[in-house]
């Protein structure tokens, strides 16, 4: 996919929303109902629902918590669009108000990891970081559950977020001591260096890959609008 740089931020937001929603409905038929698609006229649509946002509306939604979708598309299939919008709102509420709740850790992490993966695939500076890591994976999990998500790439193809552990040993693993630590990390409220030192996160395997991943995630944090600033 060829993504113009000026569309990277809204596209990353859309991918994050979808990743959170996928985690919310994991295993359900509707798990992919917000899979985003990049459209012309600087619009991004979510699944087959008819729900679509202008790029700048998505950015506004991330900053303010609210934005108006493309009404013409919305009204073409109002029922599915409304259902989709509800899902987006639910994801937004979790990010806005529920980020301290340990039960939301995976939903929050899904968004954060997907955002980083999107930057690893499209942001020129981040793409360059991973040139030397063609076949690599990072397992993410908690002490309680072990690895439950994996970021991986095969043969220099794009990086992808899997919402599960993969069979092969990960190149590196990032394990949170608690769901609370995972929540804080997902919204950028965990100092990665301190957390590694005090045991809130455990880093194992190819540490340089984790350092690059961590740096990419901080580039995302710097560039993406957020209500947690």
């Amino acid at each position: 996919m060829n993504l113009p740089l000026e569309r990277l931020v809204p596209w990353t937001l859309a991918r994050s929303i979808w990743a959170s929603q996928f985690q919310l409905l994991k295993g359900h038929d509707l798990a992919n109902s917000l899979l985003p698609r990049i459209c012309s006229e600087k619009t991004i649509s979510f699944g087959q629902s008819g729900l679509a946002f202008k790029d700048n509306s998505l950015v506004k939604a991330a900053k303010k918590g609210f934005a108006i979708p493309q009404l013409s598309k919305f009204l073409r299939s109002p029922f599915t669009s409304t259902a989709a919008l509800r899902l987006v709102i639910k994801v937004g509420q979790i990010h806005q108000n529920g980020w301290r709740k340990p039960g939301n850790a995976k939903v929050l992490l899904s968004a954060a990891l997907e955002a980083t993966v999107t930057y690893m695939n499209f942001h020129p500076g981040c793409v360059d970081l991973f040139v030397d890591h063609p076949n690599s994976s990072i397992g993410v999990g908690s002490e309680k559950e072990g690895v439950f998500m994996t970021i991986c790439r095969i043969n220099s193809q794009p990086w992808a977020l899997e919402h599960k552990a993969i069979k092969k040993q990960s190149t590196a693993t990032l394990i949170f001591s608690s769901d609370q630590a995972a929540c804080f990390s997902a919204v950028g409220n965990l100092d990665h260096m301190l957390a590694a030192g005090d045991g809130q996160i455990q880093l194992r395997g190819q540490i340089p890959l984790l350092e690059k991943f961590g740096y990419a995630s901080r580039v995302v944090r710097r560039e993406l609008p957020s209500q947690h600033e």
Binding site: L129, Q169, S170, T171, A172, D191, H192, M193, L194, A196, G197, D198, G199, Q202, L203, R204, G205, Q206, I207, P208, E211, K212, Y215
Partner: protein, 407 residues
């Protein structure tokens, strides 16, 4: 292992120091919950952390300690100078003595300058090379560490593209690649900066291939390129008079630091006559760079190495330790290999490209009070005796039993 005080201080540090502890000693670079955050005191090859845990050390302050922590002769020299002062408006004569001592011992050198860190002088040396040749490009080996400056640092932040526009990289030991780079930039390459062998972090060390140094030296000579030896990490541990002697080649300039002051911050760049004039034209200074305490330490430390043949001794001890360690671990089915020179071996376990096994092994050893780094070469010093090394091997055996159970 008790780490209560260490954790408390780390928490305090996190309030006022970005990351708490940064750089090569940042917790994430090692084994954060196995290694202590802070040290309290050290003597010879052992140190005590803040919580009173005692460690048998194999990092020697990441190489800065060559003659053992608190070496009595070095400390005496420093103490004598301390009574007279440390930093003055002018340098002390200790600086001249140190320059004379080093120039006499290091065969290619006709002059010496001093600073505090390796980076101060690796960066300065490439500028001297540029000044002499009027050329812009510098060649280095990919993955080699030459310091914290933007042209070479291994970090990720704070860089702009122009920082490295004039830096070319080749794969260590690939002379054809190096030669191609020079040909493509004929009359544009000012210097080639290399470590004596390739000691990248997170990877086994690579010794130079047969003929690599000779070919590189010849290439530099024929193309008018300065050959700069970064002997910062290795200086004093391969040969008492510079690591080029160990590998039998002649650099134009060489930088020494880590072990030079046995724990007192000092670095030195030594160069051949042909570079003296350019050296005068590249500005070099620092308020505390003439510090007489570190000059006193370096004079004594360098003299100790020359008199006692320290490099040979630690090579011998390193050989003893590495070979015994490989045999011991093999007996437990752990294919540990010690790479690089025996005085500063880098450990890796076969079939462990992702490093989980070496991390677990070093973690098990840490529980026995052994400071074995999983991602960085270890350092031996003259204070490591055969008895210390045998004690370490006994502790490794206990650790191996636990390691096998855990794996």
């Amino acid at each position: 292992m008790n780490r209560k005080k260490s954790d408390t201080w780390f928490k305090r540090a996190g309030q006022v120091i970005p990351g708490g502890i940064y750089g090569h000693v940042a917790p994430a670079a090692g084994l954060p919950r196995s290694f202590p955050h802070y040290c309290k005191q050290a003597k010879d090859c052992r140190f005590t952390d803040l919580d009173g845990n005692e460690w048998l050390d194999f990092m020697c302050g990441f190489g800065a300690i060559l003659h053992g922590y608190l070496n009595p002769k070095v400390e005496e020299a420093v103490e004598n100078q301390r009574l007279r002062g440390s930093v003055f408006n002018q340098p002390s004569t200790l600086m001249v003595e140190l320059a004379e001592r080093m120039v006499e011992a290091i065969d290619f050198a006709d002059w010496a300058v001093f600073a505090k860190n390796g980076s101060d002088l690796t960066t300065w040396a490439i500028r001297v090379a540029r000044e002499k040749s009027g050329r812009e490009f510098i060649i280095k080996a990919k993955g080699a560490y030459h310091g914290v400056d933007a042209w070479c640092d291994p970090g990720l932040g704070g860089r702009i593209p122009s920082d490295r526009e004039k830096i070319l990289e080749f794969k260590w030991n690939d002379f054809d690649h190096l030669s191609d780079l020079v040909k493509k930039r004929r009359d544009q390459v000012a210097g080639i900066i290399l470590t004596p062998y390739h000691h990248a972090a997170f990877a086994p060390s690579e010794m130079p291939a047969n003929g690599f140094w000779q070919e590189t030296q010849n290439l530099c000579k024929s193309e008018g390129i300065a050959l700069i030896l970064d002997d910062v990490r290795t200086g004093g541990r391969l040969h008492d008079s510079g690591s080029h002697k160990y590998f039998n080649f002649t650099p134009d300039m060489a930088i020494y630091s880590k072990a030079l002051g046995n724990g007192y911050a000092i670095s030195a760049c030594l160069g051949s006559e042909g570079f003296r004039s350019s050296a005068c034209d590249v500005f070099l200074t620092g308020s505390c760079w003439n510090d007489a305490l570190s000059m006193a330490a370096a004079n004594t430390s360098f003299e100790l190495s020359q008199i006692n043949g320290v490099a040979s001794y630690i090579q011998k001890m390193g050989n003893f330790f590495s070979s015994k360690l490989e045999i011991l671990t093999a007996n437990y089915g752990v294919p540990l290999k010690m790479t690089g020179p025996p005085s500063m071996p880098y450990p890796f376990i076969e079939d462990d490209s992702n490093l989980y096994k070496i991390q677990k092994f070093c973690q098990s050893c840490a529980e026995e009070g052994l400071y074995f780094h999983p991602h960085h070469n270890w350092f031996l010093g003259s204070s490591h005796s055969e008895s210390d090394l045998n004690e370490a091997l006994e502790r490794v055996e206990i650790a191996l039993k636990r390691y096998k159970l855990d794996m």
